[in-house]
């Protein structure tokens, strides 16, 4: 019974995890471009955005995204918005972190790669996607792995707005049955999830190790 409930919660946790990655990985790339843009307004805005996302608690950001529409616009919050709010808050928070990882990777590329590509006639877009990005991905994989592992554990923050994910479930069962066991089991589940994440990322790193 307990395992069944926790299992249901885990599926929600995995959904949060997957959807957050799906949105934040590409969004982070856009933010990174904004951060490196020659346009100083765009650069300034993204800088402030990243600064706020990294400088305030994710739990607070969750509350703002969830309750914001009500307090600011007096919009009634529907029940289905809860999950959407979780995804929005996680995606924009993680995009900020990924953006900085992308930026560090892109800026670490030797200028000679751009110059060689230019002399060979590659356009800007081709240079980025064919020459720069593949090498950047290899360089940033370890940092991205770190973020993804943190994300698995951070999904438990959705507890703050009572989203029924694994941690929320565990807490409820623990309170109802006055036992700490469900929380321990949840901990084991998070750990197993992260083992899987680490295994996948290790395979990716291996796939990129055919060159130096």
């Amino acid at each position: 019974m307990m395992l069944l409930q926790l299992g249901k919660g885990m599926i929600v946790s995995i959904e949060i995890f997957m959807l957050t990655l799906l949105f934040s990985l590409p969004l982070g790339m856009l933010v990174a471009f904004g951060r490196m843009s020659r346009n100083c307004v765009l650069r300034g805005i993204t800088k402030i955005y990243i600064s706020i996302m990294r400088g305030t608690p994710l739990m607070l950001q969750l509350l703002v995204v969830y309750f914001g529409p009500y307090y600011v616009f007096k919009i009634r919050i529907s029940n289905s918005y809860r999950f959407i709010a979780v995804i929005i808050a996680f995606a924009i928070n993680y995009a900020a972190y990924f953006a900085e990882i992308y930026r560090s990777g892109i800026e670490s590329m030797p200028i000679g790669q751009y110059e060689a590509a230019k002399v060979l006639g590659y356009g800007k877009v081709q240079t980025f996607f064919k020459i720069i990005l593949p090498q950047v991905i290899k360089r940033i994989l370890p940092a991205v792995t770190n973020e993804i592992i943190t994300l698995v554990k951070d999904t438990s923050l959705a507890f703050a707005i009572a989203q029924a994910e694994m941690f929320t479930m565990a807490k409820q069962i623990a309170a109802a049955q006055t036992t700490i066991l469900p929380l321990m089991v949840a901990g084991v589940f998070y750990y197993i999830l992260n083992l899987a994440v680490a295994a996948v990322m290790e395979r990716l790193e291996k796939a990129c190790s055919y060159y130096r």
Partner: protein, 252 residues
């Protein structure tokens, strides 16, 4: 025919005049070496010629067509499409090779042909294999740059530049990152190209090589061409400064 013409090129970096007034024209089949102390502007000149650096003032022509011209006292570059066309005229070999580490030797050479010049893959590969054969790298076609010695990497980068069949090939200190033994194998390749009358401009510190391979040697210092002429003329010059510089490097 004049393949390249540079007229009154000036370039400064943060107030420092690196090129003060350089004019240079290159005939088809000519091999030119540019020598001079570091900081004299040799590399900057090459970078202006290959459009990696924009000139502050001056004109640049390939095959008689303007890449940049002076208009109302300002240096104006041609349209992007125009420049891309002119870019086909030349290739550049870098000091530190700048091969693409994630591509195999073969792909380093063929990728630009296929994805930029839209040459069929089969034809591009045939062209690359022929060049690798010529440069003694046939068995390295599937290797990755990190698996090669510096000399082999530089030869691959020469093959990569040649594959685009440029009219003129620039070398920016092609052996400065190599030890003496590997330097020899790269210089041999360049000498072979000179024999086939490939038009080349080579920035180098290898005096003996410059003397052997060049039709014309240019001595640059402080952003100006101080002296130029046939190797015999330049290496036998009465110009004190040039003698001093060459003497330093050849140990005479």
């Amino acid at each position: 025919m004049k393949l390249l013409e540079m007229r009154h090129v000036k370039k400064e970096f943060e107030g420092l005049q690196v090129l003060k007034d350089i004019s240079l024209s290159v005939e088809e089949g000519e091999v030119i070496s540019i020598i001079g102390p570091s900081g004299s502007g040799k590399s900057t000149l090459l970078r202006c010629a290959t459009m990696l650096e924009e000139m502050d003032s001056g004109e640049l022509l390939y095959m008689g067509e303007y890449a940049a011209k002076m208009k109302d006292g300002k240096c104006v570059y041609a349209s992007k499409a125009e420049l891309r066309k002119l870019q086909h005229c030349f290739g550049l070999v870098f000091q530190n090779f700048n091969l693409f580490p994630h591509y195999s030797v073969l792909k380093n050479i063929t990728d630009a042909l296929i994805s930029v010049d839209k040459i069929p893959k089969k034809e591009a590969e045939e062209r690359a294999e022929k060049l690798l054969e010529q440069l003694g790298l046939a068995e390295k076609r599937d290797a990755y740059p990190y698996q090669l010695s510096g000399g082999q990497q530089q030869r691959v980068s020469i093959a990569r530049a040649l594959a685009k069949q440029p009219k003129i090939l620039f070398f920016d200190e092609p052996t400065s990152a190599l030890d003496p033994e590997l330097t020899v194998e790269v210089l041999k390749v360049i000498k072979a190209l000179a024999k086939e009358h490939m038009t080349m401009i080579i920035v180098t510190h290898e005096m003996q090589f410059a003397r052997e391979v060049s039709d014309r040697v240019i001595f640059m210092e402080e952003g100006l061409i101080q002296e130029q002429g046939t190797p015999e003329k330049l290496f036998g010059t009465g110009n004190e400064r040039v003698r001093e510089f060459i003497g330093h490097l050849t140990g005479k």
